[in-house]
């Protein structure tokens, strides 16, 4: 009996699209897998780097909404904010509190890179952390006191009350704290003065994080900094995340690496589609004899590529998400990976996968449109 469903035409079109994928299952699976791996790699790389950026900016925005640092520095580790500026800014009526932070990198016995934070005892990072050992009253009592993040304590094999070698100096561990931020969790917290001395930056901090009494004063605060200190710049957290050159480089790198992966997947789709068109030349000729236009034939080829891409993208998103969850469980990466995948990243990844598939089908579609029915059907 004839079926009378309204979507009969669409069903036939869809069948023409998927028919070749079903005929050459292994090739189709390989092609889908190529896109899936690319998408998974893209999602993983971009999410990890976005997470890293988020964590780093989280250090700066802890209980603050503005960061002040030296203008035109390529990296905050090179930023020098003088103590005089810190004192003056902290005294401005619109400022609730101003916390100077000095960033430093040092090596330990087994770890070439250990991030150090020079902080005051009043700093939000100290106040808000979960103290696993010791308490914040002990912070900054002596010059050689340090507090370790939980993971830093682990990889430095340091316990509460013990001494730990950091760089060329030995410090007394007066606390171990836990934060949700991977950088902080793997960091060493020193009293600001000790850190300045340790890193030979007396009277200097890398940034000042600012909490305003009224958020609406942000523009006025930034103007005041600009007017008063030509060498400094004040940026709201959102602005900082957008404009900080290191973040830009990281983001560009992430998307470039991801793009290369996707391009490889695209080549796979192109190869599949070329083979697909070559093996169904006769079928294309039949469609042409039955009145199919160039556009309708191209739509079948693009449709096939779109199915491969979307299946690959869906599988890649699942694989990538699973991979991120698995990486999050690795103790060494604890706190560094943020598995909260942003919907816009998923959308971009999906669109890029689709576009890649469509781009990969361009030449095959043109080839299909040029198939001459008379030649394809001549040899029966």
């Amino acid at each position: 009996m004839l079926r009378t469903g309204r979507g009969r035409t669409i069903v036939i079109f869809l069948k023409l699209i998927v028919t070749n994928l079903r005929r050459h299952r292994i090739r189709s699976i390989i092609s889908v897998a190529g896109i899936a791996f690319s998408v998974a790699a893209m999602l993983t790389v971009v999410t990890i780097l976005q997470g890293a950026i988020g964590m780093f900016s989280g250090i700066l925005s802890s209980d603050s909404e503005i960061v002040v640092f030296e203008r035109n520095v390529s990296d905050l580790f090179f930023s020098n904010v003088p103590a005089a500026a810190i004192q003056e800014i902290a005294g401005w009526p619109m400022v609730a509190h101003a916390d100077p932070v000095l960033f430093g990198i040092v090596s330990s016995a087994d770890h070439p890179i250990v991030t150090c934070f020079g902080l005051t005892a009043a700093d939000a990072r100290i106040r808000k952390a979960t103290w696993l050992a010791g308490d914040r009253q002990q912070f900054a009592r002596h010059d050689d006191d340090v507090v370790l993040g939980e993971r830093a304590a682990e990889f430095l094999s340091a316990a509460y009350g013990s001494h730990v070698q950091i760089g060329h100096a030995t410090f007394h561990v007066v606390g171990i704290l836990k934060t949700a931020n991977g950088f902080e969790d793997g960091g060493v917290f020193m009293p600001l003065a000790s850190a300045q001395s340790f890193f030979h930056k007396e009277g200097i901090s890398s940034v000042i994080t600012i909490k305003l009494r009224d958020k609406n004063d942000a523009a006025a605060f930034k103007s005041a900094v600009k007017a008063k200190y030509a060498s400094l710049i004040a940026l709201e957290d959102e602005e900082f995340n957008r404009s900080y050159s290191q973040f830009k480089i990281l983001k560009a790198t992430a998307w470039a690496v991801a793009g290369c992966g996707l391009a490889m997947g695209g080549l796979g789709v192109a190869n599949t589609m070329i083979m697909s068109v070559f093996t169904r030349v006769r079928e294309i000729a039949i469609l042409r004899v039955n009145g199919f236009s160039n556009m309708q034939i191209a739509a079948i080829v693009f449709g096939e590529a779109a199915v491969v891409s979307l299946l690959g993208a869906a599988l890649g998103l699942l694989t990538g998400t699973g991979l991120l969850f698995a990486l999050k469980l690795v103790p060494a990466l604890h706190g560094y990976i943020d598995v909260s995948i942003q919907p816009e990243i998923m959308l971009v990844v999906l669109l890029l996968a689709l576009l890649t598939g469509i781009a990969g089908a361009l030449y095959p579609a043109i080839y299909a449109m040029r198939v001459r029915a008379v030649e394809a059907l001549r040899f029966e």
Partner: protein, 235 residues
Amino acid sequence: MNPSTASDKASPRVVLRAENVWKSYDDGAIEVLKGVSFEAAAGQTVALCGPSGCGKSTLLHLFGGLDEPDRGHVSVNGVEINRHRNLLKLLRHEIGFVFQLHNLIPDLTLEENCLIPTVAAGLDRRAAQERLRQLAERTGLSHRLNHRIQKLSGGERQRTALCRALMNKPMILLADEPTGSLDEQTSAAVFALLLDIATTEGVTLLMATHDRGLAARCDRLLEMHDGRIHEPAAN
């Protein structure tokens, strides 16, 4: 020989016309058609007989717009075929093709294969379904509509190809050895059906065949030799 005067029907309207058509392949090394002139009137059934390679299929392809002549003019229903201008309209509404091999798409069902021309032409779904119902009934395929092509016999496949060719109610049916791959009995049955439908639907049939017995049952029998058409006086 005067092919243009062959029809004995009253003032027939010419729907197929070839005027001094030349066609060669391999940069002129193989000359297939050498100045073919030919006309067929609306509703006529015309058989083209001749040895393999004499140009029968080539002439059919030219009328179907699948190939272009090197010289001369080919027109359908008074309009010269132009690959860029009117080919789609020709293939969708005026011409139906049946080949020696059924040329059906194996992954689709009989029904879906038959609906392909209606999908291409964007025909109304209800009208397409109704047309298929009528043709399937006529060709004895009603019970096979949802069967895949692999499940059909040779005769059923060729009848399916005939249904597909007629779906958009073309005024011309070009059949290239339509029974060439069938056994004698099936061949006779399929040809009888082809002739019957062509006659009752008023379709002009131009059929290339080696089977002179079948060809003799058409209104006209044309012989092709050496790239030219010869129409026996008996026609």
